[in-house]
């Protein structure tokens, strides 16, 4: 037992923890900036410094372990004054001015710096903003960097390196020229960036944000000659209300559909429909590979961040990837062919917009292999911003249903939005297709939850399927190394973002530590509430095959719904 005193409160601790964590236990908030849960300690911003009795210099609470008998003051005058002075210095480098101001910032509504200013009681700003004159990095189809706003807190660097296992960012130069940049300053579009956008979620300054397509979409909605259809990814409906309500885990599918209709989309469809379709194609591919000694393990191909990752780092395994397009791309292909035919609309007039929890989807839509399927991709955040700017009172909207034909989906499609979901959806369908019998228990608990890597052996008929699920690219790399070391699997689900799509780089930035759990529970709840919970039971999928695609894996299905990959350099 360890005893210490924080702000006059006696605390007892079982183990040595940081002063920051100990303070949290005592319900004391110490401001932090370069600190982020789940990342290594950086100790750069120094905002969390506290006074330790007997020491002249202040100690960073994040990096200092509490010692027996320590007497700590977290908010003494010395500390508070220092934090204010320090924050003035920090803000000066953030370059808030007329051109680069708070009103147009991607973090306008949830600025971490503003919160800190309030927490420390900042009352004056004596320093002029520093203009470095850095140019915007718009080399990427997915993520934009505005280095002028960057304060070099290092969170993006650590997120990319430690969580995603990639490391496209680095600190360059020294002294006042210290900057965060990419290798040789090449820009995010010219390095091994997977476009996952996790760095955006970590950036406290708005220096990183997605490539906006908001304005283009608003323009196209005003174009009378176009028939604009929209699809919404599974993970959007459990997060889109967060920017309006500031709470996580609410399901607002119906409001989402209403809002999109009000915005003027000609048809509101669901990526979930395409997720069911993906299961038919990918499931068929899996069964085919197993029965015909095809390349195993089969890797899922829904996550474009994961696809770019494997293309860069494990190109020798590209044949393991399912050739099935992702649901977003399948949807686009089907909308511009089958839907055009059924609705009697010229396919040239159809514009497909996607609402995605993902920044990598923006890149995916631009891939030459699938060009033209999807025209615009908006993140969940962008859609929230459009809804606000259209004056729509989102939380109080009546609920509506998706348009038929491409808008009906099973519960299996809903769980695509979380890690393990694609695997579970595939297992539901594969089991019934192989055994010909109805599943007893529909949930595959072994692949549920938020663990980084999940492994399961599933009995299907006489077959033992060795499955694995990885979320977060750092974990994807671990699984790839397991394979290299000889571990054997049959089917592996990979999702680039921690938690899967619901934790995607295009999702609202939440201050709720349990946001992933809450979104995941919401997704499971949607699935559970549905009568139809298996992809192959979706009557509209059956109709699509009967009327157009013939059968899963058919020639036309291959033409529309499958793709190729390419090795990329490191």
């Amino acid at each position: 037992m360890l005893r210490a005193e924080i702000d006059g409160l006696n605390i007892e601790l079982e183990e040595k923890i940081s002063i920051l964590d100990a303070a949290k236990k005592a319900n004391i908030n110490i401001p932090t900036l370069c600190y982020e849960d789940g990342l290594s300690i950086y100790g750069g911003c120094r905002l969390c410094v506290v006074e330790v009795e007997g020491e002249d210099l202040l100690k960073p609470a994040c990096a200092t372990e509490i010692e027996e008998g320590m007497k700590i003051k977290t908010h003494s005058k010395k500390v508070r004054d220092l934090r204010k002075n320090l924050f003035e210095l920090i803000i000066a480098t953030h370059n808030i001015d007329c051109q680069l101001n708070c009103l147009t910032c991607s973090r306008a509504s949830n600025c971490e710096l503003k919160d800190i200013a309030e927490d420390i009681g900042l009352s004056k700003m004596r320093l002029d903003p520093i203009k470095r004159g850095d140019s915007v990095d718009n080399s990427s189809y997915a993520v934009i960097r505005e280095p002028e706003k960057c304060i070099s807190c290092n969170r993006c660097i650590r997120k990319c390196e430690e969580v995603q296992g990639i490391g496209i960012f680095t600190t360059a130069n020294r002294g006042p020229e210290t900057v965060v940049t990419t290798f040789k300053d090449r820009g995010m579009g010219n390095v091994e960036c997977t476009n996952c956008g996790q760095c955006i979620l970590s950036c406290p300054t708005g220096a990183l944000h997605e490539l906006y397509q908001k304005e283009s979409v608003l323009d196209i909605l005003n174009d009378e000659t176009k028939h604009v259809v929209v699809q919404t990814a599974p993970a959007v409906r459990v997060a889109i209300s967060e920017p309006f309500s500031n709470q996580a885990g609410d399901i607002s599918t119906g409001q989402l559909v209403t809002a999109l209709k009000r915005l003027g989309f000609d048809a509101v469809f669901d990526t979930n429909f395409a997720a069911d379709l993906t299961i038919m194609e990918e499931g068929t591919e899996l069964i085919d590979r197993i029965n015909n000694d095809g390349k195993l393990p089969l890797f899922t191909s829904c996550s474009p961040g994961w696809i770019k990752f494997i293309e860069h780092f494990y190109p020798e395994y590209l044949d393991n990837l399912s050739s099935a397009k992702s649901p977003q791309q399948m949807f686009g292909a089907v909308a511009k062919s089958y839907y055009a035919k059924e609705a009697g609309i010229d396919s040239d007039k159809i514009v497909v917009v996607s609402i995605m929890p993902c920044t990598a989807k923006k890149f995916e839509a631009k891939r030459e292999e699938m060009a033209g399927d999807v025209d615009y991709v908006l993140t969940t955040r962008e859609l929230a911003s459009i809804i606000k700017s259209a004056g729509i009172d989102f939380l109080n909207l009546e609920e509506s249903e998706y348009d038929e034909l491409l808008g009906v989906s099973s519960g299996a499609a809903d769980i695509f939005g979380t890690t393990g979901g694609v695997m579970e959806a595939a297992l539901r369908t594969a089991t019934e297709l192989i055994t010909g019998e109805e599943l007893g228990k529909i949930e595959f608990e072994a692949v549920r939850g938020l663990e980084g890597i999940k492994k399961a052996e599933v009995e299907i008929g006489g077959l033992k399927l060795r499955a694995a699920v990885a979320n977060g690219l750092g974990n994807a790399r671990k699984v790839m190394e397991m394979i290299k070391d000889g571990e054997e699997f049959d089917f592996i689900e990979f999702m680039a973002c921690p938690g899967g799509c619901m934790g995607g780089g295009g999702q609202p930035i939440s201050s709720d530590k349990n946001v992933l759990e809450k979104r995941q529970q919401a997704i499971y709840k949607i699935d559970k509430s549905k009568k139809m919970r298996k992809s192959h039971e979706n009557p509209y999928i059956k109709k699509l095959y009967d009327n157009y695609l013939e059968k899963p894996g058919s020639e036309i299905a291959h033409k529309l719904l499958h793709t190729k990959y390419k090795a990329r350099k490191i």
Binding site: I41, Y42, G43, G44, C45, R46, L47, V49, D56, L57, L58, P60, A63, E65, K78, D81, L82, N85, L86, L89, I90, A92, T93, R126, L127, I130, I151, S152, T171, N173, R174, G175, P176, E177, T178
Partner: protein, 410 residues
């Protein structure tokens, strides 16, 4: 007339065939524990600037368990005004080598590094040759004098960053990482180079340790006074008639004698304004306050430090704003850029000083004071913590005289 005391300074020591390695032989004879005890009892403090007791460092390192242990000789002498380590590397490299061997033997390390400042081409050339000959002569890479002690020594050339004089930054640099300080704890003694227990000692400290163990200079440990033992190399520079390298016994000479006797007084007909006693990271001592014995504690009492031993005499002919700008520019450029107070604070100080105009004599001393405090109290390493010592001490001592507008630094 004040006299030098010569131990570290002396004739060139470059010929390994004629060098007797008496100190390390002595250490091998008396064993590790007694070696450490001798250094501990000698009261030797680190000569790089921070002044941590060398013997205690060795003792702690000897006790820590590790797969491997390392000794690193810090020869990244970067403090402006300091050139004592260069002297030792170029003129007395065998003494340095012996010091490294002693430290390694004492703590149980069989691998050592010497990290030499990149600009010191001559030192690097000389020391590389010393290492090569030592290998040939089986002083390195072989069981030394038939003992079980064997040492590998590698020379690393620094890449020109001042911050790498900080021991944890230096360790990062050896590992090929960005030169930036590490968060302490863990201290290098627990987890240093390649995560192994590591002792980092300054060149002069190691030479002093060699003197402590040298049977020919047993009296070395008796020199000085409690808290300030042995001798100190001084790098005299600035407006002096006789700048150069001197060696003095602690507490047996005053700062005034150092300036006026050893340094030969101020050049030309100028008056001395102040002395920077230990490199530009130390607070100035006014010309009228020099009459005190040279010792760690005497400087501490005056809110300054003897630092690296770079004693810089500054006459009245210099413009104080120019001097402050010069120092400020140095720190602004040399901060590693990791911690916000040091990076941004030094940038802002430079901006404030640059904005000073002779006509209105306005300088935002309150702001300088706030920023100075912020850096000193919250910076991540010694570089930042001491970066404003010079500037704030100048404003404290001469703010009134300079008739700065605004609130005078208090």
């Amino acid at each position: 007339m004040a006299q030098e005391k010569l131990y570290l300074k002396g004739d060139k020591l470059l010929d390994i065939s004629n060098y007797e390695f008496k100190s390390i032989k002595n250490a091998l004879r008396i064993g590790r524990e007694k070696t450490i005890k001798k250094v501990k009892d000698s009261g030797l403090k680190g000569r790089g600037g921070a002044g941590f007791p060398t013997g205690i460092k060795w003792e702690m390192a000897a006790e820590v368990e590790g797969k491997e242990k390392y000794v690193v000789c810090n020869a990244d002498e970067g403090e402006p005004g300091t050139f004592k380590d260069r002297y030792l590397l170029e003129e007395r490299p065998l003494k340095v080598l012996e010091g490294i061997m002693l430290a390694a033997y004492a703590v149980g390390a069989d691998k050592a590094y010497i990290y030499i400042r990149g600009e010191y081409s001559k030192s690097i050339e000389i020391f590389s040759e010393i290492i090569e000959t030592a290998r040939e002569k089986k002083i390195l890479d072989a069981n030394l004098f038939d003992s079980d002690f064997k040492l590998e020594l590698k020379l690393i050339r620094g890449a020109g960053a001042y911050v790498c004089g900080d021991e944890t930054s230096l360790i990062n640099s050896i590992e090929g990482k960005r030169g930036r300080s590490r968060i302490k704890p863990p201290y290098p003694i627990e987890k240093g180079l390649f995560k192994q227990p590591t002792v980092v000692n300054n060149v002069e400290s190691l030479c002093c340790a060699a003197e402590v163990l040298n049977p020919d200079s047993e009296e070395f440990s008796e020199l000085g006074i409690k808290g300030s033992k042995g001798t100190k190399l001084l790098c005299l520079s600035g407006d002096l008639n006789k700048p150069g390298l001197y060696e003095v016994e602690f507490a047996q000479i005053t700062l005034a004698e150092i300036i006026y006797d050893l340094g030969g007084g101020i050049k030309g007909n100028e008056d001395l304004r102040f002395v920077i006693p230990g490199g530009i990271s130390t607070a100035v001592i006014k010309a009228e306050d020099l009459d005190f014995p040279y010792s760690y504690q005497a400087f501490e009492k005056r809110g300054s430090s003897l630092g690296s031993g770079a004693v810089i005499a500054v006459s009245k002919k210099h413009d104080l704003i120019d001097l402050m700008l010069n120092v400020s520019r140095f720190y602004m450029d040399e901060t590693c850029g990791t911690c916000f107070p040091c990076r941004e604070g030094n940038r802002q100080i430079n901006k404030i000083l640059n904005a000073f105009k002779e006509e209105d004599r306005k300088i935002e001393t309150e702001l300088i004071s706030d920023i100075g405090n912020t850096i000193r109290l919250a910076a991540r390493c010694g570089l930042g913590q001491s970066s404003l010592n010079f500037i704030t001490s100048v404003i404290e001592n001469y703010g009134k005289e300079l008739k700065f507008g605004g609130k005078i630094y208090a």
